[in-house]
């Protein structure tokens, strides 16, 4: 295939190309890894599965935050609002309305999106640092509001009984198919749900970036003024991204609290657990890249596994690492690697090529 940058004599036309040879290999590799991960419950013990659930939901949260901050320039420190909201909706729907927990996870996403609309109305009036602070304040309002609900345990929180956590969709089939007991079957289903959410979120971010809207995100991040002047409705694009991120974050929150089976306002709306760690993951891994959050989550998991017993020292190390990365590799470890070796596993660049007509 004759391919060149400049048209020579003769008929031909311009075309867009996105894939790279590496990206095809990466796509195949990703499929294999996802298939292996899906089969993990066949050989892994419960400890590993529980760790993996944590890794997967942190990855999904990191992809959401990266979509907001890294690709759209909406630096929110209030995503815990939607984690907690999703968790509480799950509890309300299962405890009070008696809905199947897996169905409740999906509903939690839809309801979070609805809550995101009025929230956006408030925080989108703020810019830059004020936007960040605004999102945090809104999350605190959410926390204080949910502490008022008596049916959901007020300030001390409440638990899901085994009658609910064991009632998840298809648990009997998993039990007989894999020959495991109820608690193990519950973990396996949570693991698959977490895997689906993490892979689904990553894929969603990728598809958004490949769409017309995705192209607009980069433009908005680089210059809002110029973006508007080429026909982009900045406010609408940003709102869409915010609502999508809220919906997915709400679903992740619902899953997290289905797994934990116990919720309280302080834990569910924790800025440290659901936003600060997520920011560390994205910054260390590589903000504004899809691969970065994956790398960051692995690093975060390893650090937490080997260093968490040192308590405060672990948090200090995490902070120092994030600062070092910000200073010496502003695009994160993945940014550094991809620049040094020209790697792009999930290609979003559109390249212009000239193709001779056949």
């Amino acid at each position: 295939m004759a391919e060149q940058n400049k048209p020579l004599a003769g008929a031909g036309h311009y075309r867009i190309e996105t894939g790279t040879p590496v990206s095809l290999m990466a796509a195949v590799g990703t499929l294999i890894v996802v298939a292996l991960l899906a089969a993990l419950p066949l050989f892994a013990g419960r400890d590993l599965l529980e760790n993996m659930i944590f890794v997967l939901y942190m990855l999904a949260l990191a992809q959401c935050w990266n979509l907001l901050a890294g690709y759209t320039g909406l630096v929110s420190v209030g995503q815990q609002a939607f984690v907690g909201l999703g968790g509480y909706i799950l509890f309300a729907l299962t405890l009070i309305a008696g809905i199947d927990p897996l169905v409740a996870i999906i509903l939690a996403g839809a309801i979070s999106a609805l809550f995101a609309l009025p929230t956006a109305l408030i925080v989108f009036r703020l810019r830059g640092a004020y936007f960040a602070i605004g999102t945090w304040v809104v999350a605190e309002v959410y926390r204080l509001s949910f502490a008022q609900f008596r049916q959901l345990g007020g300030g001390t929180g409440t638990s899901l009984g085994p009658d609910i956590t064991n009632a998840v969709f298809a648990i009997d089939r998993v039990k007989s198919l894999l020959d495991v007991r109820t608690p193990a079957a519950r973990d396996i289903i949570s693991y698959w749900a977490a895997l689906a959410l993490a892979v689904g979120t990553t894929l969603l971010v990728y598809l958004i970036l490949r769409s017309r809207r995705g192209l607009a995100l980069g433009a908005i991040r680089d210059s809002e003024e110029a973006a508007a002047s080429v026909g982009i409705d900045n406010a609408r694009v940003k709102l869409a991204v915010y609502v999508i991120a809220a919906a997915v974050t709400g679903m992740i929150g619902a899953l997290i609290y289905l797994q934990k089976a116990r919720i309280s306002p302080d834990a569910a709306f924790s800025v440290l657990d659901w936003t600060a760690y997520v920011i560390f993951i994205v910054v260390i891994g590589g903000i504004g890249t899809i691969e970065g959050p994956i790398l960051g989550t692995l690093i975060f998991y390893l650090m937490q596994n080997y260093l968490a017993s040192y308590g405060a020292v672990y948090l200090i190390l995490l902070g120092v690492l994030a600062i070092l990365v910000m200073l010496f590799a502003p695009k994160g470890l993945w940014g550094y690697l991809s620049q040094s070796y020209g790697l792009e596993l999930l290609p979003i660049r559109r390249r212009l090529v000239w193709k001779k007509d056949q």
Binding site: K6, A216, G218, S223, V230, R351
Partner: protein, 239 residues
């Protein structure tokens, strides 16, 4: 009916009057030049036309339709495109993606459908070689060309050019004038702000002069440049 019609336009910045009761009509297919000293309100006029700023008084019509309160992206879709005096490329996108995003959002094209147009615009402006380079890596000259290229990618009816010849060498300037004449000949209506008067007068059929936000002269370039008022302001600006 004129393509662009401005009536009684005023804009204040505190005590500074940046647009003072401006009346202006630009016919479809015309090429109009705007000159005036630094701070005269030239860029402000573009900002008002493109919707970056909203006026304190007055109306702006495009094709007879009142767009005074339309938002910037709506004006782009209505057919107004601009280049910025200080280039504002999308730095983390490639040169081609800068055009692509403009074509796709400014003209509601599909990405595949926009590729051909973007390729041709890049060819025309000598940027094809840099198509897949990051816009952030361009030189100043290339950035100025990208400003024009990105505006053209929206297939505008009215093109607002803000000092795109500044800093060019003589031969680059001649080339640019050629490109603008071609665009004009292909039917695009052009309003061009420029300090380099001889470049401007080579391409436009009518000239207006702004000073302290006021339109102080208007007419054929030679007549306008010959008037005593304008000569007085222009001593020292055009060597």
């Amino acid at each position: 009916m004129p393509l662009l019609e401005i009536h009684g336009l005023r804009k204040y910045f505190g005590s500074v009057v940046a647009a003072d009761d401006i009346e202006l009509a630009v016919e479809s297919g015309e090429a109009l030049g705007i000159i005036g000293p630094n701070g005269a309100g030239k860029t402000t006029l573009f900002n008002l036309i493109a919707g970056r700023l909203f006026p304190d008084a007055g109306t702006i019509r495009l094709d007879g339709r009142d767009i005074t309160s339309a938002r910037p992206h709506e004006r782009c879709i209505a057919g107004i495109a601009r280049s910025y005096q200080i280039p504002q490329p999308f730095e983390t996108l490639t040169v081609f993606e800068n055009l692509l995003v403009a074509a796709v959002h400014g003209r509601h094209k599909t990405e595949a459908g926009a590729a051909q147009l973007c390729g041709q615009v890049l060819e025309r402006l000598g940027l094809l070689r840099r198509a897949n380079a990051l816009a952030g890596s361009l030189t100043l000259l290339e950035r100025k060309r990208l400003e024009l290229a990105r505006a053209l990618a929206t297939s505008p009816r009215l093109l607002l050019l803000d000092e795109i010849a500044g800093g060019l060498t003589e031969s680059e300037c001649t080339e640019l004038v050629g490109t603008i004449k071609e665009l004009h000949a292909s039917g695009v209506t052009i309003v061009w702000i420029e300090h380099i008067v001889h470049a401007l007068t080579a391409a436009v059929g009518r000239l207006i002069v702004l000073n302290f936000g006021r339109k102080i002269a208007e007419g054929k370039p030679a007549a306008v440049m010959g008037s005593p008022d304008v000569r007085q302001i222009y001593i020292g600006i055009e060597a």
